[in-house]
Assembly symmetry: C2
Homo-oligomer: 433 residues x 2
């Protein structure tokens, strides 16, 4: 049985999970891969005394791994940008295959990294970067390879989904966030998770692998969940919807939509039922229709599971001396299409609007006229007479799908009405049909 | 760009779907696969005049495809057993790779077919045979390859799931079955679908690919849904459960459980929310935890999507001249473990019991004593006083997990009690934890 040598850079959550899975399941992995995958070197800036490395040479310098001529596959799980990028590019230059869990690195520097790997004839695999243990990159690049992928939408951040799930009980965002921090679900600085940046990294990668377009993270629209209130969650429920923090990528003729924002989804759609820290990705293909991939999007061994799956894929190629490569972004580089990311104003969506109107006759007619004149059709409307407070009454509207530009115009007009108080609350909605 | 020749045998639902997807998405498929996949011959016993074959040579003899020296990949979508088996074995003997959607063929004759393919150095791919368009074989064989798979459970038959979904509205089995026939969801003879045989074929394959054990379809336990009543569905709901027709495979030290039967699943588990003709497969791995794969389990293009994904996988290997093979059943043949399928009496399950008791004092105590003496713990109990009819009262019990043997003994004792009328209704339950 041919031996394949793996070096692990980084021994945090994902690194230790990878080590544990590779070690514990060595016999199963040999049976599945047909080769003997050995961890021959581990490096991490901060050593861990709580893990028994079983005699594998350890170093605090990751370059001891990257420059070890005996190593076939470098696992990059140090995270972050610059140091990780340099590490990966050096590994590629040294002729090593790379397995990474670093979504930020791929979303922001993937083009450069993949080009270098292409030139060096090595593989860069990144399943663990998107949706943790869920093999969704494999599903899109291979399992659905016969499809024109039309859209991808999903819950790509467990922290945000945990918070929105808990808020359904009427709790405020800030309180649940504190709980998420206490439980270890949220970082001390939760910006990456709750503002949608982490989800946008994953979405950028999914969109490229699905549509065959360049990685364009800097064009992704991100809107966080910190302004979502239990009041809107409850009223969305009354309309038959739940609010989820979704990443949505849609392929249109003019370009692609690439956006992360709170979204109303129909209560009876499966994705509305994905609660807590779990992730789920919907993929719609022209042949297959809608499919969904669900599971843990984080965690040491769950993410380690995806790292190990990539290691096995690469190890089988190394062991067989094959030159076979699944294109990094699903499509051969020359088959990629340089579709732009659409401006947010060109996105198409349905909308939930909450308007604080003064309780005067004719207000509803004014609102309806503005929407109608802007070409916006109303799906349902709720006026909460019994909720009048300080002379103001909430009007809640669900619209059909329109161009965001139309909605922006209508909202500006609505906010100019003397009968309307303050800003209009606007949350996008998707019906997935 | 290297050309790869595909011959399609069978032009029914799946064959025509495969043809349509390959033809319509030819450019995307070339971009993803890096090769030019051409359909060079089609054969079907009954010609179809409603599909434009675009000049591809057509024959009514599938051996015109199988014996064509120019063809690299034979697609077997004629279905059935004997003719399909002969076709596939001949194709293998002729040195051709095979892509099939035939679950019955693989579940019942896979061992022989895979051995022949191994010897000939060709690939037999069968993603389309399990759960239609959902790439769950790929997920198990590759995406979760680092895991020890502990159990697999799922809704593997759309017809049965449609019927159970409709029955939630209080309708009887027979009436919904007629509707399913009228809608084209059920065959004139629905035995394969509603008695669990189709699901057992798929489960057999999933269990082998997941656990690395031989295909043992003839040992699978199957129980259909024809005896499920709206009454039991409603009472399961009151206990917080839904009834689904599940295939369940569990790896235990002594052997594997392989069983298809109606099953109570917790209402708040995602799989309880999979309605209509859709399929969903839960896979539990020791590293990743629970993941779920959801989508259409049938349909021309949905199943065609899986056939085409397999064609692309094989075509890339053909085009690159690689010898790389994912083992047919996930594990290298020498790494497979000859674990037996456990007798149904050795299976472990929770149970829903409905007992028709005469309305006399002490009956409940008698029932509780028998269960307790058999080592069976009660999770919840409902006695419907207001439902007394002809002096009989329904007692509904949900138990903790026990050995089926214990339950069989307890049920025999219960049915011997003079205070109990007729047979005890027993439906298994799973909590997935």
């Amino acid at each position: 049985m041919k031996q394949v040598s793996v070096g692990i850079c980084g021994l945090g959550t994902v690194g230790s999970g990878t080590f544990k899975v590779l070690t514990r399941n060595a016999a199963i992995i040999a049976g599945r891969s047909g080769c003997n995958i050995q961890i021959t070197r581990i490096a991490s800036r901060t050593p861990r005394t709580d893990i028994d490395l079983g005699g594998v040479p350890f170093s605090t310098d990751v370059y001891d791994v990257v420059n070890d001529p005996a190593i076939d596959i470098v696992v990059e799980v140090i995270g972050g940008y610059d140091a990780a990028k340099e590490l990966v590019l050096t590994a590629i230059k040294n002729g090593k295959h790379v397995v990474t869990a670093n979504k930020a690195l791929i979303a922001e520097h993937g083009t450069e990294i993949f080009a270098a790997a292409e030139k060096a004839g090595v593989i860069v695999a990144y399943e663990a970067g998107v949706a943790g243990g869920i093999p969704v990159i494999k599903a899109i690049r291979e399992g659905l390879a016969g499809n024109r992928i039309d859209w991808i939408a999903g819950i790509m951040n467990g922290t945000g989904n945990f918070i929105l799930t808990e808020m359904r009980a009427g709790r405020e965002f800030a309180g649940v966030l504190e709980e998420a921090k206490a439980l270890g679900y949220a970082e001390a600085d939760p910006t990456f998770d709750v503002e949608g940046i982490d989800a946008a990294h994953k979405l950028t990668i999914l969109a490229s692998a699905g549509f065959g377009v360049p990685l364009q993270f800097n064009k992704a629209y991100t809107e966080g969940i910190s302004k979502i209130t239990p009041y809107d969650i409850a009223h969305a429920e009354q309309l038959g919807y739940r609010i989820k923090h979704l990443g949505i990528a849609r392929r249109r003729e003019e370009g692609i939509e690439l956006r992360v924002h709170p979204t109303l989804v129909p209560q009876d759609h499966l994705i509305a039922r994905v609660d807590g820290v779990l992730n789920a990705i919907l993929v719609d293909g022209d042949a297959v229709g809608q499919t969904m991939y669900y599971g843990p999007g984080a965690g040491d061994e769950a993410t380690g599971s995806a790292v190990v799956a990539d290691i096995i894929d690469v190890a089988r190629i190394v062991a067989s001396g094959s030159s076979l490569r699944v294109p990094f972004l699903g499509f051969a580089p020359e088959a990629m299409e340089n579709l732009p990311v659409l401006e947010m104003e060109d996105v198409q969506s349905a909308y939930y609007l909450r308007i604080s109107a003064f309780d005067r006759p004719g207000v509803l007619a004014e609102i309806a006229t503005i929407l109608s004149d802007s070409g916006i059709n109303i799906e349902s409307i709720m006026q909460k007479e019994f909720e009048v407070k300080d002379g103001r009454i909430p009007v809640i509207i669900l619209t059909h799908t329109v161009q965001e530009r139309q909605m922006n115009g209508a909202i500006a007009e609505l906010e100019n009405l003397p009968d309307i108080d303050g800003k209009v609350v606007r949350i996008r909605a998707e019906n997935f049909n």
